[in-house]
């Protein structure tokens, strides 16, 4: 047991205690949490900064608005229902298309209008928000994901998570939905996490439920070696979160839309630590390097360039044999 702890420390793997006390505590002032916990705020900031976001169709803020929503939803065949203050993917429903009697959920299953109205009501009452606070409902555009990840996705939209420390991208991973995760890219629910080499934008290792895997559990296709186009541009969007919010330890969730290109889904002030497992390397080493070089890094481009040169996957290890 202590051996595991020692090895983990050696490899720079940080746990929740270290993240909370050391990094989040230091870098994220509490008064700024609002900007990322409330997805409506985040959208506003993103639009101001010129970053594309999924279009907000409707914002439901009170119970009586629900009944008027039915007609409005008819205008949009596909959409996503999200609690504005939710976390960990709770309360999110992704709708594929309208069918007889209701709508079809991404990943299967039918919802009637009553189901949807009930769900909206729950969200408004704060069932999915932190601390049970009253909440709003976001009905937004459902992203048409780029065919890049088609072979390794089971319904739903895969997204790209980049952890940005003090404005410098530190680590990245792709999150792929599975049947188990009900079409959501959330790792807690059974999605697949894939490490990404920051230098090239190529996927490296994959894992599900914290254990390494080689193929997608539903499609059986290999996961590593996929190259993400426009990767540098994606990293710049991610690094922009620092200018946008002022938070020094952020998880940036991006998604590649077939038509609109990279879009910002949401920001996370308490990004999870599974990204270390997906990349098979600890965060601490990278964070320390950023701390050492931060003074000398000026603008956005310099920060991203630093990231791409310093954090190459070869420097850690590759799945097919080459060890450091």
């Amino acid at each position: 047991m202590f051996r595991i702890a020692h090895k983990l420390r050696e490899r720079g793997v940080i746990g929740l205690n270290a993240r909370n006390a050391g990094y989040i505590g230091e870098q994220n002032p509490r008064r700024l949490y609002r900007l990322v916990d409330d997805k409506v705020e985040t959208k506003r900031l993103a639009i101001e900064a010129g970053i594309t976001v999924p279009q907000l169709y409707e914002l439901v803020e009170s119970q009586f608005q629900i009944r008027y929503l039915r007609e409005k939803l008819a205008e949009h065949p596909r959409f996503v229902i999200k609690p504005a203050k939710g976390s960990q993917g709770d309360g999110i429903i992704v709708i594929d298309k309208p069918i007889v009697g209701g709508w079809r959920k991404s990943g299967g299953g039918r919802l009637t209008w009553d189901d949807i109205a009930f769900h909206l009501s729950n969200i408004l009452s704060g069932m999915y928000s932190l601390g049970g606070q009253p909440d709003c409902v976001i009905i937004e555009e459902r992203v048409e994901f780029d065919p890049l990840f088609e072979k390794v996705t089971f319904h739903g939209v895969p997204d790209i998570r980049v952890v940005v420390y003090r404005g410098v991208p530190a680590m990245g991973m792709v999150r792929l939905p599975t049947r188990e995760s009900d079409g959501k890219a959330n790792l807690h629910k059974g999605g697949v996490g894939v490490g990404v080499d920051l230098a090239s934008g190529r996927t490296t290792f994959a894992m599900q439920h914290g254990a390494p895997i080689d193929e997608h559990p539903d499609t059986g296709e290999p996961i590593s070696g996929i190259e993400i186009p426009g990767w540098t541009h994606l990293l710049k969007l991610a690094a922009l979160s620092f200018e946008m919010t002022g938070l020094g330890y952020v998880g940036v969730d991006l998604v590649l839309d077939r038509n609109k290109g990279p879009m910002l889904l949401e920001l996370n002030a308490r990004p999870g630590l599974a990204i270390q497992v997906a990349n098979r390397v600890g965060l601490r080493g990278r964070l320390d390097k950023i701390d050492a070089a931060r003074e000398s890094l000026g603008d956005l481009d310099a920060r991203v360039a630093f990231s791409q040169t310093t954090f190459r996957a070869e420097l850690d290890a590759l799945p097919n044999g080459t060890r450091q």
């Binding site: 595991i4 793997v13 729950n122 894992m207 390397v281 290890a317």
Partner: protein, 511 residues
């Protein structure tokens, strides 16, 4: 930088706490261990009778503090009846009178009390004997002769008062009596008659004695018999003596209820009186004689000691001061082990209620109520209710569930009424709600694991809070909580891995 600030602050707090503690122990002689700790008992007397339709006066005896016992929190429960203290001539007993202007039919009166039983006696009764009362007239010359014969018999076979008493007792200990004793009260005389006889003989012999009646606080019993023994005046105080007939409990467990020839209950205006006494042992903490006397050994400077508060306040603080201990356990379990619970401090409140129900029954009660609550919650899903009314409905259901469970379970003793009231129903409702949301979003396994985790942490917290010296130390030395606070501050800057993380990231340690 921040860490240094925290460490400095905690050092200061720990230093203050420890220095006051050391001062109290070395200079002021505060005891590090409890002296004369006690068992707690719940006592209930139920008296039923048939009222004749007119005014009713029911005189009932109440136990008094003294010797090994202290009596607290008395409750007289008698709907419709008025209660007054005192009554007719009852010598040094404590008597209450229930009265009502008009009553007909079956009536039930209840007396309930909490009794603390010490391991060392706080002293015996010292009221001087009144010779006039103790001497009774003889019913007949035959009786007089028999008693004198018995007295002579015992005297001949003994050398002094002490051996006389022992000899007399030996006559009355036999299952089947013989000789003069048998002639007076019958061969298979009950305990009460034997004790009465012993006292009569002793009084005739010039030794002041009186009968004592009460119950043995020995083990929990739904129906516990009234037992009888006697006390002998040795010039300074009344010493208890008992016969070795019928009753096997030790003498120290005898709670004196009333003394002398009076009945326990006497009803004017009614008949068919039946009485039953139930006793049950409580799991709650001990009270010390220090708390009762309001002093701690013989030291003078105890102005700021919590022992100077009235007993009821002391009892409250004893529990309150344990809460930081519970918080420490939770902080450790969460930060070092990584167990998540439904609600950060919910286990502390559950643990506090375990103090009323005992650990095993507490766990059973918790599990049953949460499981049934979940069933109801899943049903509520179909009803599509708004959130807050749904939560409120769950709360009502939980309260009803608690009531049903305690009514149905036979092995729950009369304390159930108290423990049900204190079991944190609101906490349970929130636990059920969170558990069901987790169940829906993340699956049954996750929900059950976290549920068991919460219960486990509650049980652990309870165990730590019940460790023998913990309560005494925290109550006698509340400054130690500063040390506890210092520890918590340090834990607040702990950046090491949690135990659960060692498992979660185990693949990263391989290769």
């Amino acid at each position: 930088m921040r860490s240094r600030h925290v460490f400095a602050l905690s050092l200061v707090l720990a230093f203050i706490g420890l220095s006051v503690f050391v001062y109290k122990v070395w200079v002021l002689d505060f005891p590090l261990e409890e002296d004369a700790s006690s068992q707690n008992w719940s006592l209930e007397l139920k008296a039923t009778f048939r009222a004749d339709g007119g005014p009713v006066k029911a005189h009932v005896m109440a136990p008094q503090a003294g010797g090994y016992f202290s009596v607290y929190q008395e409750n007289f429960i008698s709907p419709g009846f008025g209660l007054t203290q005192g009554g007719d001539d009852v010598s040094n007993n404590r008597q209450f009178v229930w009265s009502i202007r008009e009553a007909e039919g079956e009536q039930s009166l209840y007396y309930r009390a909490i009794v603390y039983q010490f391991t060392r006696s706080t002293g015996l009764a010292t009221d001087p004997p009144s010779h006039a009362k103790n001497r009774r007239e003889f019913a007949s010359t035959a009786e007089e002769a028999a008693i004198h014969a018995l007295l002579r018999e015992a005297t001949e076979r003994s050398a002094d008062n002490e051996t006389f008493i022992a000899t007399l007792k030996s006559f009355l200990n036999d299952d089947i009596l013989s000789g003069n004793a048998a002639m007076l009260i019958g061969r298979a005389a009950p305990l009460k008659d034997r004790v009465d006889l012993a006292v009569r003989v002793l009084n005739e012999a010039g030794i002041d004695a009186r009968t004592v009646h009460g119950v043995a606080l020995h083990k929990t019993a739904r129906v516990t018999p009234i037992i009888h023994w006697f006390e002998i005046w040795n010039g300074r105080e009344w010493t208890p003596h008992r016969l070795l007939f019928e009753v096997t409990a030790p003498t120290e467990s005898f709670l004196p209820w009333w003394r002398g020839d009076h009945p326990m209950i006497d009803v004017e205006g009614g008949g068919g009186v039946r009485i039953g006494v139930a006793v049950s042992q409580r799991a709650e903490s001990a009270i010390t004689s220090a708390m009762l006397r309001g002093d701690v050994t013989t030291s003078p400077v105890t102005k700021f000691s919590l022992y100077n508060l009235p007993i009821e306040s002391q009892l409250v603080y004893r529990v309150l001061l344990l809460i930081p201990i519970g918080a420490l356990v939770i902080a450790l379990v969460r930060q070092m082990i990584g167990i998540r619970t439904f609600g950060t401090f919910m286990p502390v409140l559950i643990a506090l209620s375990f103090r009323e129900t005992e650990l095993f029954w507490g766990i059973v009660l918790f599990t049953v109520v949460v499981s049934m609550g979940l069933l109801v919650r899943f049903y509520f899903e179909h009803l599509k209710l708004l959130l807050v009314p749904r939560l409120a409905s769950m709360l009502v259901v939980v309260v009803l569930l608690m009531a049903c469970v305690s009514l149905l379970s036979e092995s729950m003793t009369l304390d159930v009424g108290l423990s049900v009231a204190l079991f944190p129903m609101v906490i349970m409702t929130m636990t059920i709600e969170r558990m069901s949301v987790l169940w829906e979003e993340h699956g049954a396994k996750e929900a059950i694991i976290q549920g068991l985790g919460s219960l486990g942490v509650a049980a652990l917290t309870f165990t730590v809070m019940s460790l023998p010296h913990v309560e005494h130390m925290v109550f006698t030395f509340p400054e130690l909580l500063l040390v506890l606070l210092a520890t918590l501050l340090v834990i607040g800057r702990y950046t090491g891995p949690r135990l659960t993380e060692l498992y979660r990231f185990r693949h990263l340690a391989k290769r």
